[in-house]
């Protein structure tokens, strides 16, 4: 299998502070990978570095092309959708407008319309609320909207930053079920950053564990989930 | 609209400035102080007068800096406070024959009250809305001063002529030189008081409000009180500057205090570096001298030259003189190490 995303020796900086110390990892096409670690380990920074939203050095290749120097919007145009922490919902716009925005780089108008219908099928709650201002949605609904918006890009790769944050456990189960379905049925490669390690490892097939900006463990999700020592020392459950 | 009431979380108008970065080191302060004391002994009276104005506008910029750099509120209305201060001093001196030095604290107190009262309704406004409100105040002020109702006191459109004080105790110095040192002492006093204010509990409250109002109120800072207080203090200092200005220029008239003055003071703050008190004097120098320089370069295009110079400054150092000072300090530090 070829690697879809290849990251080598990634270092990222916030001002003078270095947040990533030479991260290397790769994602296989069609895989669902999770990036685990404690608060401040550098998970969010890794995603932001892929989309060039933070100053970084190192090599990032997407489908063989180097993307390290592209601007955020040009990275996105390659088919990399990023659902940021806090969801990035356009709160003053309606649900439908948010979905439209997800497809703003596409020109196939008819397909966009049918994709919006598809999203409503995936997430029926969005259909009920399609004329509402997105800011009035509950946290769970906003997360659904964020995922749907990202899918409107018809991405090849989707990056999710703590999708479970602030959501009730039942809703998280729901959401992860949908993510799995998207990965299998729509063939979207997914990289999900999570603090809820247990759930993420159930869902994913690959996993990386990072600590203070370095990768400390990589492998099959099941193996990591079954490794008592890793679970205790890094994942805390 | 829905039940969700608006909770506007605006982008910060002002960047956070660390508290220590608000002042100069002791060594640098000393050098500046010595330069300010010695220079007048070596130059002509007209230049001394300009240096006096430099200090006076410096005070006014400093006052705006406390308001904007300290508490994050924006004002385009400083010229109104400056005018009130100037008129208070002038009226007390000319109608009540009061000693010029005594008029200044009164001007300060009256302006403090005025600013405090203005700050009350302004509490509900922020960002551009506050800018508009203060702007309205600045445009209204000259018109109010012209009103026939106050004419007996203010002299209407004609304004008032103010007598320039002589040096006391028979000191052998010119009026200009005396006024310069008098102003210098007041400026240093107010500068030190301001530094202390910003380092005090109240100063921390100001800055907490500037950085995050909601968090500040959650920590128990009385946001309303401190915001109005910041307005009051800023207006008070501006009033003292206005009073000094009236004495130095020997004249007050409504058209001396238009919105142009308020805009100049604003530019002075930006050029000096928002939130950096020593920068006030640099900003003051910019607004006093650069228009003259522009005029010198091209009479017909002086406005354009001024604009271009202003653009150059903000392109090269978007954070104003503060940025220059930081870079200079770093360079100096490196030199020391080597």
């Amino acid at each position: 299998m070829t690697a879809m995303l290849n990251v080598k020796d990634l270092r990222a900086y916030y001002g003078q502070v270095q947040a990533l110390h030479g991260l290397s990892f790769s994602l296989n096409e069609g895989s669902l990978t999770t990036l685990l670690g404690a608060n401040g380990a550098g998970k969010t920074t890794t995603l932001r570095a892929i989309c060039n939203m933070v100053r970084s050095t190192g090599a990032i290749e997407f489908e063989g092309k180097p993307i390290g120097t592209r601007s955020t919007e040009n990275v996105v145009r390659l088919g990399i959708a990023h659902v940021p922490q806090g969801r990035g919902t356009f709160t003053t716009m309606t649900v439908e407008e948010n979905l439209q925005l997800g497809a703003i780089t596409r020109t196939d108008k008819k397909a966009i319309v049918s994709d919006i219908e598809r999203m409503y099928a995936h997430f029926p709650v969005l259909k009920q609320r399609y004329t509402q201002q997105a800011g009035t949605l509950s946290g769970g609904e906003q997360q659904m909207l964020a995922v749907a918006r990202a899918l409107m890009l018809r991405p090849r790769l989707m990056l999710l930053d703590e999708p479970s944050f602030g959501l009730a456990p039942l809703i998280v189960r729901d959401l992860f079920g949908i993510l799995g379905k998207i990965n299998r049925e729509d063939k979207v490669t997914i990289l999900v950053v999570e603090q809820n390690a247990q759930l993420a490892l159930e869902l994913a097939d690959q996993a990386y564990v990072i600590e203070t900006g370095r990768i400390v463990m990589a492998g099959n999700a099941k193996d990591i989930a079954n490794n008592e020592d890793v679970r205790k020392s890094y994942l805390g459950y | 609209m829905s039940a969700a009431e608006e909770v506007v979380t605006e982008g910060q108008a002002v960047e956070a400035v660390p508290k220590r970065a608000m002042t100069l080191g002791y060594g640098t302060s000393l050098v500046v102080l010595v330069a300010l004391i010695i220079t007048p002994l070596l130059v002509k009276n007209f230049i001394i007068f300009q240096m006096t104005m430099l200090l006076i506008y410096g005070l006014a910029v400093l006052a705006l800096n406390i308001l904007t750099g300290g508490s994050g509120q924006f004002s385009l209305g400083q010229s109104a406070f400056y005018a009130v201060g100037a008129y208070t001093s002038a009226i007390l001196m000319e109608h009540a024959n009061m000693n010029y030095a005594l008029t200044l604290p009164i001007a300060g107190i009256i302006c403090f009250g005025f600013g405090y009262l203005f700050g009350k309704p302004a509490l509900r406004l922020s960002g551009v809305y506050l800018a508009l409100a203060t702007f309205a105040l600045a445009t209204a002020m000259p018109q109010l001063l012209k009103l026939g109702f106050f004419e007996h006191w203010t002299g209407g459109v004609q304004g008032l002529v103010v007598t320039k004080p002589d040096a006391p105790f028979g000191l052998p110095m010119s009026q200009d030189m005396w006024l310069y040192y008098f102003t210098l002492v007041i400026t240093i006093g107010i500068y030190l008081a301001s530094v202390n204010l910003l380092r005090s509990r109240s100063g921390r409250a100001f800055m907490a409000i500037r950085d995050n109002e909601i968090a500040a109120s959650a920590m128990g800072v009385d946001v309303a009180l401190y915001k109005t207080l910041a307005f009051g203090v800023s207006a008070g200092i501006t009033g003292v500057a206005g009073g000094l200005g009236a004495i130095a220029v020997q004249f007050v008239a409504p058209d001396g205090y238009t919105i142009t003055l308020a805009i100049s003071l604003f530019l002075g703050m930006v050029v000096g570096g928002v939130g950096w008190l020593p920068g006030s004097i640099v900003g003051s120098a910019f607004i006093i001298f650069v228009p003259n320089i522009a005029e010198g370069i091209s009479k017909g295009l002086s406005g354009a030259v001024f604009g271009v110079l202003l653009f150059l400054v903000i392109f090269l150092v978007p954070h104003g003189a503060r940025q220059v000072a930081i870079v200079a300090t770093q360079l100096f530090g490196k030199l020391k190490k080597n």
């Binding site: 919007e73 709160t91 003053t92 925005l101 | 551009v128 800018a131 209204a140 604003f266 930006v270 017909g300």
Partner: protein
């Protein structure tokens, strides 16, 4: 009563000027989240360009279209050249930049066209409108054109993809980049559109206030006031705000004794501030809903 009605009508007529300008103000506020103090000067310069074109023999509507096009391009150029480099600078630095731009344009226009007052033609004629002495056909035409622009803007922002992208870029730049919008160009586009709308405002206003480099000074202040009153996030509010300010101003001048021309502006501003204290987001401003 008749006096009142007449004064309201006259207010609406002057209000049209403010409404026109306020629309341009709101436009740029949407794009860059700030009031552009140089906006009036940009409009003035555009109006001079159209005047110059007419001097050279271009017919009115021809020069109108050319001027709008020129202004659009010039607006984009100003953004690319002067304000894009300042994108990361503090907001107050940007405001200083607006003031610098103001000084430059005003001074250059004065040098090229000098400060004497010039007549500026109107395409609508200046006879009484529907027999009313208070509103001329020009003013009626101006009101019509303002409303037309408003409708066009509404459709642009509501139903076009570029309009949607511009709104997204203005409200949440980072999220907008994450859906692939080039936010930097959206800002430039906002400048261009604001300059174009401003040029229309200038060409409509010039027949009333006459053409000279300082013609927009007062108008811009009223335009700001109108935009703020109506709510800076609402083009519709800006236009209504413009008419309200015009009416306000006229009624204040008529019914409050002792108010000369000099005090009209401060009192109008004071009234607006009173309104804002009660309703800080403006009359039609969209309340922003945000979780803290």
């Amino acid at each position: 009563m008749e006096l009142f009605v007449n004064q309201v009508l006259a207010g609406v007529a002057t209000g049209a000027i403010y409404a026109c300008m306020a629309l341009a103000v709101v436009m740029i506020y949407q794009a860059i989240d700030h009031l552009n103090f140089a906006q009036g000067e940009m409009a003035m310069f555009s109006t001079f360009i159209s005047w110059q074109l007419m001097q050279w023999g271009v017919p009115y509507w021809g020069s109108f279209v050319l001027t709008v096009g020129f202004s659009f391009v010039a607006g984009i150029a100003i953004e690319r050249l002067l304000f894009k480099p300042l994108a990361k600078a503090p907001i107050l630095t940007n405001v200083a930049g607006f003031i610098a731009l103001y000084a430059i344009i005003n001074s250059v226009a004065g040098l090229i066209w000098d400060f004497t007052i010039k007549q500026y033609p109107t395409p609508f004629g200046s006879s009484p409108f529907l027999g009313s002495q208070l509103i001329s056909t020009h003013q009626a035409g101006m009101i019509g054109l303002t409303i037309l622009m408003l409708v066009l803007l509404f459709f642009f922002f509501r139903f076009t993809r570029v309009g949607l992208a511009m709104r997204a870029a203005a409200s949440l730049p980072e999220s907008a980049r994450l859906v692939g919008i080039n936010t930097s160009w959206m800002i430039a586009l906002g400048w261009g559109m604001a300059a174009a709308i401003g040029s229309v405002a200038g060409m409509m206003i010039a027949p009333v206030v006459f053409l000279e480099p300082n013609m927009m000074l007062g108008v811009l202040i009223y335009g700001f006031a109108a935009a703020v009153l109506g709510g800076l996030t609402s083009p519709f509010g800006a236009v209504v705000g413009g008419f309200l300010v015009g009416v306000f101003e006229n009624l204040v001048g008529t019914y409050i004794p002792g108010v000369g021309n000099e005090l009209k502006l401060p009192i109008a501003l004071a009234l607006i501030i009173t309104v804002l204290v009660v309703k800080p987001a403006g009359l039609f401003g969209r309340p922003i809903i945000k979780r803290v």
